[in-house]
Protein backbone atom coordinates (compact mmCIF):
# COMPACT_ATOMS: atom_id res chain seq x y z
CA UNK A 1 0.00 0.00 0.00
CA UNK A 2 2.59 2.53 1.10
CA UNK A 3 4.99 1.29 -1.54
CA UNK A 4 2.35 1.69 -4.19
CA UNK A 5 1.63 5.21 -2.97
CA UNK A 6 5.34 5.97 -2.90
CA UNK A 7 5.97 4.72 -6.41
CA UNK A 8 2.93 6.63 -7.67
CA UNK A 9 4.22 9.80 -6.08
CA UNK A 10 7.71 9.20 -7.41
CA UNK A 11 6.36 8.96 -10.96
CA UNK A 12 4.56 12.25 -10.43
CA UNK A 13 7.80 13.57 -8.96
CA UNK A 14 9.79 12.57 -12.02
CA UNK A 15 7.30 14.29 -14.32
CA UNK A 16 7.31 17.41 -12.17
CA UNK A 17 11.09 17.15 -11.84
CA UNK A 18 11.55 17.40 -15.60
CA UNK A 19 9.57 20.64 -15.54
CA UNK A 20 11.50 21.89 -12.52
CA UNK A 21 14.72 21.12 -14.35
CA UNK A 22 13.61 23.03 -17.41
CA UNK A 23 12.49 25.90 -15.16
CA UNK A 24 16.01 26.17 -13.74
CA UNK A 25 17.98 26.00 -16.99
CA UNK A 26 17.52 29.73 -17.58
CA UNK A 27 18.87 30.57 -14.13
CA UNK A 28 21.95 28.41 -14.65
CA UNK A 29 22.52 29.73 -18.17
CA UNK A 30 22.51 33.33 -16.95
CA UNK A 31 24.78 32.54 -14.02
CA UNK A 32 27.11 30.46 -16.15
CA UNK A 33 27.63 33.10 -18.81
CA UNK A 34 27.19 36.43 -17.01
CA UNK A 35 27.99 35.37 -13.42
CA UNK A 36 24.78 37.16 -12.46
CA UNK A 37 22.38 35.51 -10.03
CA UNK A 38 18.86 36.26 -11.15
CA UNK A 39 17.14 36.69 -7.80
CA UNK A 40 13.96 37.69 -9.62
CA UNK A 41 13.81 34.29 -11.33
CA UNK A 42 10.43 33.30 -9.89
CA UNK A 43 8.78 36.46 -11.18
CA UNK A 44 9.60 35.41 -14.75
CA UNK A 45 8.06 31.99 -14.13
CA UNK A 46 5.00 33.84 -12.85
CA UNK A 47 4.91 35.93 -16.06
CA UNK A 48 4.79 32.72 -18.09
CA UNK A 49 1.91 31.46 -15.97
CA UNK A 50 -0.04 34.66 -16.57
CA UNK A 51 0.65 34.57 -20.31
CA UNK A 52 -0.83 31.04 -20.40
CA UNK A 53 -3.79 32.04 -18.29
CA UNK A 54 -4.52 35.13 -20.33
CA UNK A 55 -4.24 33.37 -23.70
CA UNK A 56 -6.41 30.53 -22.43
CA UNK A 57 -9.13 32.65 -20.85
CA UNK A 58 -9.25 35.54 -23.30
CA UNK A 59 -8.56 33.77 -26.59
CA UNK A 60 -9.30 30.17 -25.68
CA UNK A 61 -5.80 29.28 -26.76
CA UNK A 62 -4.32 25.88 -26.03
CA UNK A 63 -1.45 26.16 -23.47
CA UNK A 64 0.91 24.35 -25.87
CA UNK A 65 0.42 27.17 -28.36
CA UNK A 66 1.25 29.61 -25.56
CA UNK A 67 4.83 28.29 -25.53
CA UNK A 68 6.13 30.32 -28.50
CA UNK A 69 4.35 33.44 -27.24
CA UNK A 70 5.95 32.99 -23.85
CA UNK A 71 9.36 32.46 -25.41
CA UNK A 72 9.17 35.61 -27.55
CA UNK A 73 7.85 37.70 -24.64
CA UNK A 74 10.60 36.32 -22.41
CA UNK A 75 13.35 37.06 -24.95
CA UNK A 76 12.00 40.59 -25.34
CA UNK A 77 11.86 41.12 -21.56
CA UNK A 78 15.36 39.70 -21.29
CA UNK A 79 16.75 42.08 -23.92
CA UNK A 80 14.99 45.08 -22.38
CA UNK A 81 16.26 44.34 -18.88
CA UNK A 82 19.72 43.45 -20.16
CA UNK A 83 20.26 46.69 -22.06
CA UNK A 84 18.51 48.96 -19.54
CA UNK A 85 19.92 47.48 -16.31
CA UNK A 86 22.21 44.46 -16.34
CA UNK A 87 24.69 45.71 -18.94
CA UNK A 88 25.42 48.77 -16.82
CA UNK A 89 26.12 46.65 -13.76
CA UNK A 90 28.20 43.81 -15.21
CA UNK A 91 31.40 45.33 -13.85
CA UNK A 92 29.88 46.57 -10.57
CA UNK A 93 30.18 44.59 -7.32
CA UNK A 94 27.96 41.52 -7.00
CA UNK A 95 25.72 43.36 -4.57
CA UNK A 96 24.52 45.62 -7.39
CA UNK A 97 23.30 42.87 -9.72
CA UNK A 98 21.75 40.90 -6.86
CA UNK A 99 19.72 43.90 -5.79
CA UNK A 100 18.91 44.89 -9.36
CA UNK A 101 17.53 41.48 -10.37
CA UNK A 102 15.67 41.36 -7.09
CA UNK A 103 14.05 44.71 -7.89
CA UNK A 104 13.25 43.62 -11.44
CA UNK A 105 11.39 40.68 -9.92
CA UNK A 106 9.39 42.97 -7.64
CA UNK A 107 8.67 45.31 -10.53
CA UNK A 108 7.27 42.46 -12.63
CA UNK A 109 5.14 41.22 -9.75
CA UNK A 110 3.69 44.66 -9.15
CA UNK A 111 3.01 45.29 -12.84
CA UNK A 112 1.19 41.96 -13.11
CA UNK A 113 -0.72 42.76 -9.93
CA UNK A 114 -1.70 46.11 -11.42
CA UNK A 115 -3.07 44.42 -14.55
CA UNK A 116 -4.58 41.21 -13.22
CA UNK A 117 -5.14 41.83 -9.49
CA UNK A 118 -3.73 39.70 -6.71
CA UNK A 119 -6.34 36.95 -6.30
CA UNK A 120 -5.54 33.31 -7.00
CA UNK A 121 -6.57 32.13 -10.43
CA UNK A 122 -6.57 28.94 -12.41
CA UNK A 123 -7.81 27.39 -15.61
CA UNK A 124 -9.15 24.05 -16.71
CA UNK A 125 -7.93 22.35 -19.85
CA UNK A 126 -9.68 18.99 -20.07
CA UNK A 127 -7.71 16.61 -22.28
CA UNK A 128 -8.14 13.38 -20.36
CA UNK A 129 -5.95 11.22 -18.15
CA UNK A 130 -3.92 8.07 -18.43
CA UNK A 131 -3.92 5.37 -15.79
CA UNK A 132 -0.47 4.04 -14.97
CA UNK A 133 -1.65 1.52 -12.39
CA UNK A 134 -0.04 3.11 -9.38
CA UNK A 135 -1.12 6.63 -10.23
CA UNK A 136 -3.33 8.54 -12.64
CA UNK A 137 -1.54 11.12 -14.74
CA UNK A 138 -3.53 13.89 -16.43
CA UNK A 139 -2.48 14.31 -20.04
CA UNK A 140 -1.64 17.97 -19.45
CA UNK A 141 1.09 16.92 -17.02
CA UNK A 142 2.44 14.44 -19.53
CA UNK A 143 2.49 17.10 -22.26
CA UNK A 144 4.31 19.47 -19.92
CA UNK A 145 6.89 16.79 -19.16
CA UNK A 146 7.42 15.96 -22.85
CA UNK A 147 7.63 19.67 -23.64
CA UNK A 148 10.33 20.13 -20.99
CA UNK A 149 12.42 17.26 -22.27
CA UNK A 150 12.11 18.43 -25.88
CA UNK A 151 13.12 21.98 -24.99
CA UNK A 152 16.06 20.72 -22.93
CA UNK A 153 17.23 18.60 -25.88
CA UNK A 154 16.82 21.48 -28.32
CA UNK A 155 18.93 23.64 -26.04
CA UNK A 156 21.52 20.89 -25.83
CA UNK A 157 21.85 20.61 -29.61
CA UNK A 158 21.80 24.35 -30.02
CA UNK A 159 24.73 24.58 -27.61
CA UNK A 160 26.67 21.80 -29.30
CA UNK A 161 25.96 22.44 -32.96
CA UNK A 162 25.50 26.15 -33.61
CA UNK A 163 28.07 28.92 -33.76
CA UNK A 164 26.34 31.09 -31.17
CA UNK A 165 25.96 28.07 -28.89
CA UNK A 166 29.68 27.39 -29.14
CA UNK A 167 30.43 31.07 -28.51
CA UNK A 168 28.33 30.89 -25.37
CA UNK A 169 30.15 27.83 -24.10
CA UNK A 170 33.46 29.51 -24.73
CA UNK A 171 32.40 32.50 -22.63
CA UNK A 172 31.33 30.16 -19.81
CA UNK A 173 34.79 28.57 -19.89
CA UNK A 174 36.81 31.77 -20.05
CA UNK A 175 35.33 35.08 -21.10
CA UNK A 176 38.71 36.78 -21.56
CA UNK A 177 39.96 33.93 -23.70
CA UNK A 178 36.78 34.03 -25.77
CA UNK A 179 37.24 37.76 -26.31
CA UNK A 180 40.80 37.19 -27.51
CA UNK A 181 39.55 34.58 -29.98
CA UNK A 182 37.18 37.11 -31.52
CA UNK A 183 33.95 36.23 -29.76
CA UNK A 184 31.71 39.27 -29.34
CA UNK A 185 31.31 38.82 -25.58
CA UNK A 186 28.87 41.71 -25.22
CA UNK A 187 26.53 40.11 -27.71
CA UNK A 188 26.88 36.71 -26.05
CA UNK A 189 25.93 38.31 -22.72
CA UNK A 190 22.81 39.90 -24.20
CA UNK A 191 21.82 36.73 -26.04
CA UNK A 192 22.35 34.53 -22.99
CA UNK A 193 20.36 36.80 -20.73
CA UNK A 194 17.52 36.99 -23.24
CA UNK A 195 17.60 33.24 -23.84
CA UNK A 196 17.73 32.53 -20.09
CA UNK A 197 14.72 34.73 -19.43
CA UNK A 198 12.91 33.30 -22.47
CA UNK A 199 13.41 29.75 -21.18
CA UNK A 200 12.24 30.79 -17.71
CA UNK A 201 9.03 32.38 -19.00
CA UNK A 202 8.41 29.25 -21.11
CA UNK A 203 8.84 27.11 -18.00
CA UNK A 204 6.07 29.16 -16.41
CA UNK A 205 3.75 27.88 -19.14
CA UNK A 206 4.84 24.30 -18.53
CA UNK A 207 4.43 24.66 -14.76
CA UNK A 208 0.83 25.81 -15.14
CA UNK A 209 0.21 22.78 -17.31
CA UNK A 210 1.30 20.70 -14.34
CA UNK A 211 -0.39 22.85 -11.69
CA UNK A 212 -3.12 24.91 -13.41
CA UNK A 213 -4.25 26.59 -10.16
CA UNK A 214 -2.82 29.02 -7.63
CA UNK A 215 -1.71 31.49 -10.27
CA UNK A 216 -1.12 34.89 -8.67
CA UNK A 217 1.50 37.67 -8.90
CA UNK A 218 3.44 36.41 -5.87
CA UNK A 219 3.59 32.72 -6.83
CA UNK A 220 7.20 33.10 -7.99
CA UNK A 221 8.87 33.35 -4.58
CA UNK A 222 8.58 29.64 -3.84
CA UNK A 223 9.89 28.79 -7.30
CA UNK A 224 12.89 31.08 -6.86
CA UNK A 225 13.92 29.11 -3.81
CA UNK A 226 13.31 25.77 -5.52
CA UNK A 227 15.24 26.91 -8.58
CA UNK A 228 18.20 27.84 -6.39
CA UNK A 229 18.16 24.44 -4.71
CA UNK A 230 18.01 22.75 -8.12
CA UNK A 231 20.65 24.99 -9.67
CA UNK A 232 22.98 24.31 -6.76
CA UNK A 233 22.31 20.56 -7.05
CA UNK A 234 23.38 20.80 -10.67
CA UNK A 235 26.44 22.98 -10.10
CA UNK A 236 24.87 26.42 -10.64
CA UNK A 237 26.51 27.24 -13.95
CA UNK A 238 25.46 24.28 -16.09
CA UNK A 239 22.01 24.20 -17.71
CA UNK A 240 22.15 20.40 -18.17
CA UNK A 241 23.23 20.00 -14.58
CA UNK A 242 20.17 22.04 -13.70
CA UNK A 243 17.93 19.72 -15.71
CA UNK A 244 19.15 16.63 -13.87
CA UNK A 245 19.07 18.56 -10.60
CA UNK A 246 15.40 19.17 -11.33
CA UNK A 247 14.72 15.47 -11.79
CA UNK A 248 16.43 14.67 -8.48
CA UNK A 249 14.59 17.48 -6.73
CA UNK A 250 11.20 16.37 -8.06
CA UNK A 251 11.85 12.86 -6.73
CA UNK A 252 13.01 14.14 -3.33
CA UNK A 253 10.07 16.50 -2.99
CA UNK A 254 7.37 13.99 -3.83
CA UNK A 255 9.06 11.08 -2.08
CA UNK A 256 9.54 13.04 1.12
CA UNK A 257 5.94 14.22 0.99
CA UNK A 258 4.77 10.62 1.11
CA UNK A 259 7.08 9.87 4.02
CA UNK A 260 6.27 13.05 5.98
CA UNK A 261 2.58 12.24 5.60
CA UNK A 262 3.20 9.12 7.70
CA UNK A 263 4.24 11.20 10.72
CA UNK A 264 1.15 12.07 12.76
CA UNK A 265 0.53 15.70 13.74
CA UNK A 266 2.65 17.45 11.12
CA UNK A 267 1.86 19.34 7.93
CA UNK A 268 3.74 17.33 5.28
CA UNK A 269 3.54 20.00 2.59
CA UNK A 270 5.21 22.65 4.75
CA UNK A 271 7.87 20.13 5.80
CA UNK A 272 8.81 19.35 2.20
CA UNK A 273 9.43 23.05 1.68
CA UNK A 274 11.56 23.15 4.82
CA UNK A 275 13.46 20.12 3.55
CA UNK A 276 14.28 21.83 0.27
CA UNK A 277 15.86 24.66 2.25
CA UNK A 278 17.89 22.19 4.33
CA UNK A 279 19.09 20.44 1.16
CA UNK A 280 20.22 23.79 -0.21
CA UNK A 281 22.29 24.55 2.90
CA UNK A 282 23.77 21.06 3.10
CA UNK A 283 24.86 21.05 -0.54
CA UNK A 284 26.30 24.53 -0.31
CA UNK A 285 28.20 23.39 2.75
CA UNK A 286 29.63 20.10 1.50
CA UNK A 287 29.71 20.50 -2.26
CA UNK A 288 29.18 24.05 -3.55
CA UNK A 289 30.19 22.96 -7.06
CA UNK A 290 27.14 20.73 -7.30
CA UNK A 291 26.50 17.04 -6.88
CA UNK A 292 26.81 16.18 -10.53
CA UNK A 293 30.02 17.91 -11.39
CA UNK A 294 33.31 16.10 -11.14
CA UNK A 295 35.80 17.92 -8.93
Amino acid sequence: MILEQLSGNLIQGLVLGAIYGMATMGLSLIFGVLKVVNVGHGAFIMSGAFITLWLFNALGMNPILALPFAFITGMALGLIFYYSVIQKLIKAPELATLLATFSIGILLEEVVKLIFGSEFRGYNWPVGKINLGVTVLPMTKLYACIGSVVIALLLYFWFKKTRSGTAMRSVVEDSEGARVCGVNVGWVYALSFALGIGLTVVSGVLLTMFIPVGINPYMGGGYTLKAFVIAVLGGLSSPYGAFFGGLIFGLIENGSYTLFALIPGVEPFALTRFLSFVILLVILLIRPTGLLKAK
Partner: protein
Protein backbone atom coordinates in the same frame (compact mmCIF):
# COMPACT_ATOMS: atom_id res chain seq x y z
CA UNK B 1 46.18 63.92 18.56
CA UNK B 2 42.51 63.38 18.09
CA UNK B 3 40.12 64.21 20.79
CA UNK B 4 38.51 61.05 22.20
CA UNK B 5 35.08 62.64 22.14
CA UNK B 6 35.46 63.86 18.60
CA UNK B 7 35.20 60.25 17.46
CA UNK B 8 31.56 60.29 18.44
CA UNK B 9 30.59 63.57 16.73
CA UNK B 10 28.92 61.72 13.83
CA UNK B 11 26.35 60.43 16.32
CA UNK B 12 25.09 63.97 16.90
CA UNK B 13 23.00 64.29 13.70
CA UNK B 14 21.71 60.73 14.16
CA UNK B 15 20.60 61.28 17.73
CA UNK B 16 19.26 64.72 16.85
CA UNK B 17 17.04 63.11 14.22
CA UNK B 18 15.72 60.56 16.74
CA UNK B 19 15.14 63.24 19.35
CA UNK B 20 13.28 65.33 16.77
CA UNK B 21 11.09 62.36 15.92
CA UNK B 22 10.26 61.90 19.60
CA UNK B 23 9.50 65.59 20.16
CA UNK B 24 7.38 65.97 17.03
CA UNK B 25 5.45 62.83 17.88
CA UNK B 26 4.91 63.93 21.47
CA UNK B 27 3.93 67.52 20.81
CA UNK B 28 2.14 67.54 17.47
CA UNK B 29 -1.21 65.84 17.73
CA UNK B 30 -1.77 62.94 15.38
CA UNK B 31 1.92 62.56 14.54
CA UNK B 32 2.86 59.88 17.06
CA UNK B 33 1.88 57.00 14.82
CA UNK B 34 3.81 58.35 11.84
CA UNK B 35 6.86 58.99 14.01
CA UNK B 36 6.60 55.45 15.38
CA UNK B 37 6.60 54.11 11.84
CA UNK B 38 9.58 56.28 10.87
CA UNK B 39 11.44 55.12 13.97
CA UNK B 40 10.78 51.51 12.95
CA UNK B 41 12.18 52.08 9.46
CA UNK B 42 15.24 53.93 10.78
CA UNK B 43 15.88 51.14 13.28
CA UNK B 44 15.41 48.49 10.60
CA UNK B 45 17.86 50.34 8.37
CA UNK B 46 20.42 50.82 11.16
CA UNK B 47 20.25 47.14 12.08
CA UNK B 48 20.42 45.86 8.49
CA UNK B 49 23.22 48.27 7.63
CA UNK B 50 25.54 46.76 10.24
CA UNK B 51 25.82 43.68 8.05
CA UNK B 52 25.01 44.76 4.49
CA UNK B 53 26.70 48.13 4.71
CA UNK B 54 29.86 46.98 6.41
CA UNK B 55 30.45 43.71 4.55
CA UNK B 56 28.78 44.25 1.17
CA UNK B 57 26.97 40.90 1.52
CA UNK B 58 23.19 40.80 1.00
CA UNK B 59 21.19 38.72 3.44
CA UNK B 60 17.87 38.09 1.70
CA UNK B 61 16.58 36.12 4.68
CA UNK B 62 17.08 38.94 7.16
CA UNK B 63 13.45 39.09 8.24
CA UNK B 64 13.86 35.61 9.76
CA UNK B 65 15.77 37.19 12.65
CA UNK B 66 12.94 39.61 13.29
CA UNK B 67 10.56 36.67 13.11
CA UNK B 68 12.36 34.58 15.72
CA UNK B 69 12.75 37.70 17.88
CA UNK B 70 8.99 38.12 17.79
CA UNK B 71 8.59 34.48 18.73
CA UNK B 72 11.05 34.92 21.63
CA UNK B 73 8.95 37.65 23.18
CA UNK B 74 5.70 35.82 22.40
CA UNK B 75 6.98 32.64 24.05
CA UNK B 76 8.17 34.54 27.12
CA UNK B 77 4.78 36.13 27.58
CA UNK B 78 2.59 33.12 26.82
CA UNK B 79 4.63 30.57 28.76
CA UNK B 80 5.21 32.65 31.88
CA UNK B 81 1.98 34.63 32.12
CA UNK B 82 0.46 32.19 34.62
CA UNK B 83 3.17 32.87 37.22
CA UNK B 84 1.88 35.51 39.62
CA UNK B 85 3.82 38.63 40.51
CA UNK B 86 6.51 38.52 37.85
CA UNK B 87 5.17 41.55 35.99
CA UNK B 88 7.76 43.43 33.98
CA UNK B 89 10.30 40.67 34.63
CA UNK B 90 8.44 38.59 32.04
CA UNK B 91 9.01 41.27 29.41
CA UNK B 92 12.71 41.32 30.29
CA UNK B 93 12.84 37.52 29.99
CA UNK B 94 11.06 37.95 26.66
CA UNK B 95 13.84 40.26 25.47
CA UNK B 96 16.49 37.79 26.61
CA UNK B 97 14.70 34.99 24.74
CA UNK B 98 14.48 37.17 21.62
CA UNK B 99 18.18 37.89 21.76
CA UNK B 100 19.05 34.26 22.41
CA UNK B 101 16.88 32.97 19.59
CA UNK B 102 18.07 35.47 17.01
CA UNK B 103 21.68 34.85 18.06
CA UNK B 104 21.24 31.10 17.79
CA UNK B 105 19.61 31.32 14.38
CA UNK B 106 22.28 33.71 13.14
CA UNK B 107 25.03 31.37 14.34
CA UNK B 108 23.35 28.43 12.62
CA UNK B 109 22.82 30.32 9.36
CA UNK B 110 26.17 32.09 9.57
CA UNK B 111 28.05 28.85 10.15
CA UNK B 112 26.93 27.67 6.73
CA UNK B 113 26.37 30.84 4.73
CA UNK B 114 29.38 32.88 5.85
CA UNK B 115 31.77 30.28 4.50
CA UNK B 116 30.39 31.16 1.08
CA UNK B 117 31.27 34.11 -1.08
CA UNK B 118 29.11 36.73 -2.75
CA UNK B 119 26.41 35.17 -4.87
CA UNK B 120 26.55 31.83 -3.06
CA UNK B 121 26.00 33.61 0.24
CA UNK B 122 22.93 35.37 -1.13
CA UNK B 123 21.55 32.07 -2.42
CA UNK B 124 22.08 30.39 0.94
CA UNK B 125 20.21 33.12 2.80
CA UNK B 126 17.33 33.61 0.42
CA UNK B 127 15.38 30.71 1.89
CA UNK B 128 16.09 31.24 5.58
CA UNK B 129 12.85 33.03 6.35
CA UNK B 130 10.73 30.68 4.24
CA UNK B 131 12.57 27.65 5.59
CA UNK B 132 12.02 28.66 9.19
CA UNK B 133 8.41 29.53 8.55
CA UNK B 134 7.75 26.13 7.02
CA UNK B 135 9.56 24.41 9.88
CA UNK B 136 7.24 26.12 12.36
CA UNK B 137 4.15 25.37 10.28
CA UNK B 138 5.17 21.89 9.20
CA UNK B 139 6.32 20.50 12.52
CA UNK B 140 3.60 22.45 14.40
CA UNK B 141 6.12 24.12 16.66
CA UNK B 142 4.76 26.94 18.86
CA UNK B 143 1.19 26.44 17.65
CA UNK B 144 2.25 25.98 14.02
CA UNK B 145 0.36 27.91 11.40
CA UNK B 146 -2.24 29.13 13.91
CA UNK B 147 0.32 31.41 15.54
CA UNK B 148 -0.15 32.94 18.96
CA UNK B 149 -2.33 35.75 20.23
CA UNK B 150 -1.34 37.03 23.64
CA UNK B 151 -3.29 40.19 24.20
CA UNK B 152 -5.01 38.68 27.23
CA UNK B 153 -1.75 37.47 28.79
CA UNK B 154 -0.15 40.87 28.31
CA UNK B 155 -3.11 42.53 30.05
CA UNK B 156 -2.86 39.95 32.82
CA UNK B 157 0.84 40.58 33.38
CA UNK B 158 0.89 44.37 33.31
CA UNK B 159 -2.69 45.35 33.88
CA UNK B 160 -4.91 46.67 31.14
CA UNK B 161 -3.76 50.27 31.26
CA UNK B 162 -0.05 49.61 31.38
CA UNK B 163 -0.38 47.07 28.56
CA UNK B 164 -2.12 49.58 26.35
CA UNK B 165 0.44 52.28 27.19
CA UNK B 166 3.14 49.78 26.31
CA UNK B 167 1.75 49.05 22.87
CA UNK B 168 0.85 52.63 21.95
CA UNK B 169 3.70 54.57 23.56
CA UNK B 170 6.53 52.67 25.19
CA UNK B 171 7.03 50.25 22.32
CA UNK B 172 7.78 53.19 20.01
CA UNK B 173 10.18 54.64 22.56
CA UNK B 174 11.95 51.28 22.70
CA UNK B 175 12.20 51.24 18.91
CA UNK B 176 13.91 54.64 19.07
CA UNK B 177 16.29 53.32 21.73
CA UNK B 178 17.09 50.28 19.58
CA UNK B 179 17.75 52.55 16.61
CA UNK B 180 20.06 54.75 18.70
CA UNK B 181 21.86 51.72 20.13
CA UNK B 182 22.33 50.25 16.65
CA UNK B 183 23.77 53.57 15.47
CA UNK B 184 26.15 53.63 18.42
CA UNK B 185 27.30 50.07 17.75
CA UNK B 186 27.74 50.88 14.06
CA UNK B 187 30.01 53.80 14.87
CA UNK B 188 31.88 51.79 17.50
CA UNK B 189 32.54 49.06 14.94
CA UNK B 190 33.52 51.61 12.28
CA UNK B 191 36.11 53.16 14.58
CA UNK B 192 37.54 49.88 15.80
CA UNK B 193 39.56 47.06 14.33
CA UNK B 194 36.32 45.37 13.26
CA UNK B 195 35.40 48.25 10.98
CA UNK B 196 38.81 48.43 9.35
CA UNK B 197 38.84 44.68 8.81
CA UNK B 198 35.37 44.79 7.28
CA UNK B 199 36.29 47.67 5.00
CA UNK B 200 39.27 45.71 3.76
CA UNK B 201 37.01 42.71 3.24
CA UNK B 202 34.38 44.70 1.38
CA UNK B 203 36.94 46.17 -1.00
CA UNK B 204 38.84 42.98 -1.70
CA UNK B 205 38.24 39.83 0.28
CA UNK B 206 41.23 37.93 -1.07
CA UNK B 207 43.64 40.77 -0.40
CA UNK B 208 42.25 41.08 3.13
CA UNK B 209 42.83 37.37 3.71
CA UNK B 210 46.38 37.57 2.40
CA UNK B 211 47.04 40.46 4.77
CA UNK B 212 46.25 38.05 7.60
CA UNK B 213 42.82 39.38 8.49
CA UNK B 214 40.52 36.70 9.85
CA UNK B 215 37.66 37.74 7.57
CA UNK B 216 35.29 34.99 8.70
CA UNK B 217 35.53 36.11 12.32
CA UNK B 218 34.62 39.71 11.52
CA UNK B 219 31.85 38.70 9.14
CA UNK B 220 30.34 36.58 11.92
CA UNK B 221 30.58 39.45 14.41
CA UNK B 222 28.75 41.81 12.04
CA UNK B 223 26.20 39.12 11.10
CA UNK B 224 25.31 38.24 14.70
CA UNK B 225 25.17 41.88 15.82
CA UNK B 226 22.87 42.75 12.96
CA UNK B 227 20.68 39.71 13.70
CA UNK B 228 20.42 40.60 17.41
CA UNK B 229 19.12 44.05 16.62
CA UNK B 230 16.62 42.50 14.22
CA UNK B 231 15.48 40.16 16.99
CA UNK B 232 15.00 43.03 19.42
CA UNK B 233 13.15 45.02 16.79
CA UNK B 234 10.83 42.09 16.13
CA UNK B 235 10.20 41.68 19.85
CA UNK B 236 9.33 45.35 20.31
CA UNK B 237 7.60 46.51 17.19
CA UNK B 238 5.77 43.29 16.44
CA UNK B 239 5.29 41.29 19.65
CA UNK B 240 4.80 44.21 22.05
CA UNK B 241 3.13 46.68 19.70
CA UNK B 242 0.71 44.18 18.19
CA UNK B 243 0.46 41.27 20.61
CA UNK B 244 0.12 38.37 18.19
CA UNK B 245 2.42 36.39 15.94
CA UNK B 246 1.54 34.51 12.73
CA UNK B 247 4.29 32.71 10.81
CA UNK B 248 3.38 34.04 7.33
CA UNK B 249 3.46 37.61 8.63
CA UNK B 250 6.67 37.66 10.64
CA UNK B 251 8.63 35.78 7.97
CA UNK B 252 7.35 37.94 5.10
CA UNK B 253 10.22 38.78 2.71
CA UNK B 254 8.65 42.21 2.22
CA UNK B 255 10.50 43.49 5.31
CA UNK B 256 13.85 42.41 3.91
CA UNK B 257 12.93 44.35 0.78
CA UNK B 258 12.16 47.44 2.86
CA UNK B 259 15.45 47.11 4.74
CA UNK B 260 17.34 46.91 1.43
CA UNK B 261 15.54 49.96 0.03
CA UNK B 262 16.22 52.01 3.15
CA UNK B 263 19.91 51.17 3.33
CA UNK B 264 20.45 51.77 -0.40
CA UNK B 265 18.50 55.02 -0.45
CA UNK B 266 20.47 56.41 2.45
CA UNK B 267 23.83 54.98 1.51
CA UNK B 268 25.16 51.54 2.45
CA UNK B 269 27.97 51.54 4.98
CA UNK B 270 27.35 55.07 6.25
CA UNK B 271 26.17 55.91 9.75
CA UNK B 272 23.63 58.55 8.84
CA UNK B 273 22.40 56.68 5.75
CA UNK B 274 19.79 54.47 7.42
CA UNK B 275 18.30 57.52 9.15
CA UNK B 276 18.04 59.42 5.89
CA UNK B 277 16.81 56.33 4.05
CA UNK B 278 14.33 55.45 6.78
CA UNK B 279 12.89 58.95 6.80
CA UNK B 280 12.65 59.24 3.01
CA UNK B 281 11.19 55.77 2.64
CA UNK B 282 8.84 56.03 5.61
CA UNK B 283 7.46 59.45 4.69
CA UNK B 284 7.01 58.62 1.02
CA UNK B 285 5.43 55.26 1.86
CA UNK B 286 3.05 56.93 4.31
CA UNK B 287 1.86 59.50 1.81
CA UNK B 288 1.88 57.09 -1.13
CA UNK B 289 -0.36 54.76 0.84
CA UNK B 290 -2.81 57.63 1.12
CA UNK B 291 -2.56 58.81 -2.49
CA UNK B 292 -1.95 55.49 -4.27
CA UNK B 293 -2.81 52.69 -1.87
CA UNK B 294 -1.21 49.35 -2.76
CA UNK B 295 1.28 50.67 -5.30
CA UNK B 296 4.23 51.55 -3.09
CA UNK B 297 6.36 48.68 -4.36
CA UNK B 298 5.50 49.44 -7.98
CA UNK B 299 7.07 52.83 -7.41
CA UNK B 300 9.95 51.73 -5.20
CA UNK B 301 11.21 48.86 -7.37
CA UNK B 302 12.28 51.10 -10.28
CA UNK B 303 13.67 53.59 -7.75
CA UNK B 304 16.03 50.94 -6.33
CA UNK B 305 17.18 50.07 -9.84
CA UNK B 306 17.84 53.72 -10.63
CA UNK B 307 19.74 54.22 -7.37
CA UNK B 308 21.89 51.15 -8.02
CA UNK B 309 22.78 52.33 -11.52
CA UNK B 310 23.08 56.09 -11.04
CA UNK B 311 23.71 56.78 -7.34
CA UNK B 312 25.21 53.64 -5.79
CA UNK B 313 26.43 55.75 -2.87
CA UNK B 314 22.95 56.82 -1.76
CA UNK B 315 21.89 60.19 -0.34
CA UNK B 316 24.39 60.30 2.50
CA UNK B 317 27.17 59.00 0.29
CA UNK B 318 26.64 61.94 -2.05
CA UNK B 319 26.32 64.36 0.83
CA UNK B 320 29.57 63.03 2.25
CA UNK B 321 31.48 63.84 -0.91
CA UNK B 322 29.88 67.31 -1.03
CA UNK B 323 30.95 68.31 2.48
CA UNK B 324 34.31 66.58 2.27
CA UNK B 325 36.51 69.53 3.17
CA UNK B 326 34.10 71.61 5.21
CA UNK B 327 33.57 71.65 8.97
CA UNK B 328 30.52 69.42 8.53
CA UNK B 329 32.69 66.52 7.45
CA UNK B 330 33.32 65.54 11.05
CA UNK B 331 29.63 65.02 11.65
CA UNK B 332 28.66 63.03 8.59
CA UNK B 333 29.97 59.56 8.00
Amino acid sequence: MRNELEKYYPLIPVFAAYLAMFLIGKNVTGMWQLMGMLAFYCALGQAFNIFLGMTGYVDFGYVAFMGVGTYGMALGITRLAHIEGLGVVIIIIGFILSLLMSTMLSIAVGAVALRLRGAYFAIATIGVNEGFRYLIEGARIWNGSEGMIFNAQLNQILGREAASALSTFWADIMVLIIAALAAFVTLYYMRSKIGYALTALREDEDAAKVMGINVTKYKIIAFITSACFAGLLGAVSWALKTPYVFPPEVFEIHYTVEAIIIVLLGGAGTLLGPVAGGLIYGISKYYLSIILPGFQLLIFAPIIIIIIILFPEGVVGMLKSKVKDSALARFII
